[in-house]
């Protein structure tokens, strides 16, 4: 083993991993390059765009700006972990499809992770809450309205007791 490497234990999408990494590895590199979870996207690499958003211990974070060493012992959820094991999409994923909340789709995994974390935290987010909590996810196709509608539709279903 390379002596400069360190071992971390991390749970990703319910699976436990023990990996040996260089300390400079980011969480994004760990997910994509070590674990093959390429659903999390690499884009700006300077903590701006939100394409690499994942959930760490229930909080949305930008994986490009967190060292993998710092998630040692923590639970990470990526876009691959949103659907159930048998492939059934999450309610939010379904809502994104229904509302065509994708154009090129590159920012979608990050948006799904931010909105999933928000809906875990807030039972009935207002439009202002949604806009504020989604500020950290940029879409360069400017497809903002559709995914706001998608998120709002999930909130509405909650209010009506349908989910």
């Amino acid at each position: 083993m390379d002596s400069s490497k360190k071992t971390i234990n991390v749970k990703v999408n319910g699976e436990s991993y023990e990996v040996s990494i260089k300390p400079k590895m980011t969480l994004l590199q760990l997910l994509r390059n070590e674990l093959g979870l390429t659903g999390t996207k690499q884009a700006c690499m300077d903590n701006s765009c939100g394409a690499c958003t994942v959930i760490v211990n229930k909080m949305a974070v930008k994986a490009c700006s967190v060292l993998a060493m710092q998630v040692n012992g923590k639970e990470v959820t990526t876009v691959e972990g949103l659907a159930s094991k048998d492939g059934k999409l999450s309610i939010l994923q379904e809502a994104f499809l229904e509302h065509s909340a994708f154009q090129c789709g590159f920012c979608s995994p990050g948006k799904l992770m931010s909105s999933t974390a928000m809906l875990e935290e807030l039972e009935n987010p207002t439009e202002e809450d949604i806009r504020r909590d989604m500020e950290g996810n940029l879409c360069r196709c400017t497809g903002y309205v559709q995914y706001l509608e998608a998120i709002k539709s999930v909130v509405q279903k909650r209010k009506e007791g349908k989910i």
Partner: protein, 290 residues
């Protein structure tokens, strides 16, 4: 990013001992929301990082009626934003935190890390300075408490010694007959601020005369800027629109902004006038009712 040695400190004491050992080549890592970008862009290349993010002993928000508020340096922005205690006693901090970067950054980034990165566009420093913040710096040799307004010396530069760690932010109890207002101007909410300002106004009890005022701004100078002359113009006066207007003009003349991709220096000065006017007026109205 260049390779570095990595240590995860298990206590503040251990962190202090590590940083005293590696002070010439090491950096302290908290949430890393600025540091990781700096490392990636090779603007800095320490050969050793001392990770303190996991230190629970520096993650707290505590209030005492006599001594005021103490925030552990590793408290996240999000925890400050969401703290019912802060919303009740220092609501301006909660308001300000809502616009610090994005939710993702606030979830992982810490208040201590933000202050130590000393970015002149940072929002927390002006609001904390207006509230009279002090900070506690610790090292293996001991500790010292300094006023936050004396902490910053230049762009991305502070008085912190290479072997010191910022451990705590301290605020006095909320002052009577005082209101503090935070306002910012940015093209998008979570984006880079063109200018932001925090204004505190204290009125004479039962009157509408301004007894004390403080105006602090970000993004208009190499450090959080206290516009003393403008604040002086408010003291002892009834804050009519004219008085506030003159003070806002003075505030703009005290700034030394630069031109960058986000705004020209001239434009920033104009925005200063508008923001100081609005924030002072609002703080004054609130202080009368406080």
């Amino acid at each position: 990013m260049k390779d570095f040695e990595y240590f995860s400190a298990s206590s503040l004491q251990e962190a202090c001992s590590l940083i005293s050992q590696y002070k010439d080549v090491g950096k302290v890592l908290a949430g890393g929301q600025s540091l990781i970008t700096l490392l990636r862009q090779k603007l800095i290349s320490p050969t050793c990082l001392i990770d303190i993010k996991g230190l629970k002993e520096l993650d707290y928000i505590e209030f005492d009626k006599k001594s005021g508020l103490r925030i552990g340096a590793l408290t996240t922005h999000r925890a400050i934003e969401k703290s019912p205690l802060i919303q009740e006693k220092y609501d301006v901090l909660s308001e300000m935190e809502k616009s610090v970067a994005s939710v993702q950054t606030r979830n992982w980034g810490t208040i201590g890390g933000n202050l130590c990165s000393a970015d002149p566009i940072g929002d927390p420093a002006p609001s904390l300075i207006v509230l009279g913040a002090k900070i506690k710096l610790v090292s293996a040799k001991g500790e010292r408490v300094v006023a936050l307004e004396d902490f910053f010396t230049d762009y991305f530069t502070t008085i912190i010694e290479p072997d010191e760690i910022l451990a705590e932010i301290q605020l006095p109890p909320p002052a009577p007959n005082t209101a503090v207002e935070y306002m910012k101007f940015a093209t998008i909410e979570a984006g880079i601020k063109i200018v932001s300002t925090s204004v505190a106004v204290t009125v004479e009890a039962g009157s509408d005369v301004c007894k004390d005022a403080k105006i602090v701004m970000s993004a208009v100078a190499p450090v959080p800027l206290i516009t003393k002359k403008a604040a002086e113009m408010l003291k002892g006066k009834k804050l009519t629109d004219d008085v506030i207007e003159e003070a806002a003009k003075m505030a703009a003349s005290e700034t030394d902004p630069t031109t960058d991709v986000h705004a020209s220096a001239e434009y920033r000065k104009e925005i200063v006038k508008v923001l100081v006017k609005r924030a002072t007026k609002k703080a004054f109205e609130k202080a009368k009712k406080a």
